[in-house]
């Protein structure tokens, strides 16, 4: 299936140096993919040339005169920068010229502009940010990661439905299991919102596992983990901090003296294979799920390798028809799942 992806080429810490090579690389790997490269055209063309390409039907350059700053208030970006690369890329999804947008820019601005331009799917009150994380069993999907700091039980239910449809569509899993992030397994645990959400999830027809705890994320207890954006953001950032600390400590231990340095060199293939398994770049690309269009947020610090995974997520979501599946589910009577 042919897919056209609009790339906000100016977003992220590295801008065109990362976004353009990643799109070029992907266009070579998948002949069914087209890219609209949005941003300052001179910069984009220079990068294309460096990668040995020219603007073409499959790598079309679309000029946009403004750039959203990484720390710019979302309201500024939304109201003041109608010709930013981010805004224009999302406009292309709205008009149907592209089926998905990928950006490594300012998350708040991307969410604000996406909601304003694309609107939410029928029955969805708020979009959520969903990402994949590695687990002992493979990987899991967690949402929300920061779009919604205050959630009602109904919002958490909607996140559960969206997460389950995402896994069912993209991974072809029949009835993905959904866990509700809490501070204990028992029903009596947690705050009122979480307790009420558990009741809604249990009656939803989803394959609801029940409460899960923080350690269940990396155990891979369920296919989907649902939480509010405050808790999800803290869990994700805490994980990043811990992983960095452990990596630093391990490096220091191997650099202690000439003998440990030699061991480090010898063990390099083992360490490299370990690093590859948990390489966060392979998990780059969070979905802004619940919009009338596929929008993928790449980490701002992503390199071209990582940005490629964000592009892959966009393509997979388009091809699997996840948005149509969410809409169908939301329109179904009582939003029940069809029996498996």
């Amino acid at each position: 299936m042919e897919v056209t992806v609009a790339v906000d080429c100016m977003g992220g810490d590295h801008g065109v140096r990362v976004t353009v090579p990643a799109a070029v690389d992907w266009s070579r790997r998948d002949p069914q993919c087209r890219f609209v490269l949005v941003g300052l055209q001179d910069q984009i063309r220079a990068e294309l040339q460096r990668a040995g390409e020219l603007s073409s039907e499959r790598l079309r350059v679309h000029h946009a005169t403004e750039v959203v700053g990484m720390d710019e208030p979302p309201a500024n970006a939304l109201r003041g920068k109608k010709d930013s690369s981010m805004r224009v890329a999302i406009d292309l999804v709205k008009s149907g010229e592209a089926q998905a947008c990928v950006s490594a820019g300012n998350t708040g601005a991307l969410m604000a502009i996406s909601r304003f331009v694309l609107k939410t799917l029928p029955g969805i009150d708020r979009p959520a940010i969903a990402t994949m994380l590695p687990t002992l069993k493979g990987h899991t999907h967690i949402l929300d990661l920061g779009a919604n700091v205050d959630c009602s039980a109904e919002h958490l239910l909607q996140f559960g439905i969206m997460g389950a449809e995402l896994v069912a569509s993209v991974e072809g899993k029949a009835r993905p299991s959904v866990g509700l992030l809490n501070i204990g397994e028992e029903d009596i645990k947690g705050n009122e919102v979480v307790k009420e959400a558990a009741v809604l999830l249990r009656g939803s027809g989803l394959n609801f596992y029940g409460n899960v705890e923080g350690d269940d994320i990396y155990k891979g207890t369920t296919d989907v983990v649902v939480c509010d954006g405050f808790v999800g953001n803290v869990a994700l950032k805490t994980s990043e901090g811990l992983a960095q600390m452990l990596a630093t400590y391990l490096r220091e231990e191997f650099r202690k003296n000439p003998f440990t340095r030699m061991l480090g060199l010898l063990a390099m293939p083992v360490i490299k294979s370990f690093k590859d398994r948990v390489d966060h770049r392979r998990y780059n690309g969070a979905s802004l799920l619940g919009l009338r269009g596929v929008v993928i947020k790449s980490h701002g610090s992503a390199d071209a390798f990582a940005f490629g995974f964000a592009i892959e997520h966009a393509i997979n979501e388009v091809r699997s028809g996840v948005l149509a599946h969410i809409s169908e589910r939301m329109a179904a009577p009582e939003r029940k799942v069809k029996p498996a």
Copy 2:
């Protein structure tokens, strides 16, 4: 300074097999320490004998006929088991026969019984669970870890004061920095409670750093990290899950084939030194802070080495007079810190 610690010998996954040897070991290391070993006396005496000791003034056995189950509802333990080892150990703190209680039992029951028997310090609405975590710079203290799932801004302020007094007292640090766990550094980030808490903390006279994010915990950005119990519990459990996953992956990589196994053996001293640095057993022992008495909760799965650290926390809190310092601070006009 002489300190008497009441040990709930029956709590935890391993009961007397862990608690008694840890107390014996500590009594040998610190002649100023006395222990009251509370629980089923036959079991305790048998363990003492195995450790080459008899009941003595410094290792006194105090019989208690009941045991609180690890999954028992706290209300049951509180109302139905007046002669449980946990209850009797806390009663000993109340009566002044001991200055601290250490238990590896059911957290909910320990908190409920402690609140009921000891009550909170003047000015403290709710006790919080505080623990120490390793960081890139040393360690940090985080609270609350699950005692309070719904917190007001005022509660978060009280946690900040208690955390700062804990670090000031036990570590002798003049004005410990306090961070508020949030999902961004900017003041506009987070939910209403967190925003209001930031205002209160800024006006409190504490050395308030401002908002910190999840990754700041392990970066060691501040001496104290304040959050509600839901968020803190998820952050801690998520860390446990990630650490376990990474350890499993690393082990698997070193066990892949005979060559990697050999490398693993060679690298053993490096891996061991790394493990020692982040050994969670060294961080065992969470304070139930804000009560009129020192109560330390050990991890249920602790071994004697880990339980020893929980005992050490109890002794340090007693000797440093942290409870008196919290009371003084809460009684001070506007609860301002004395100028450094």
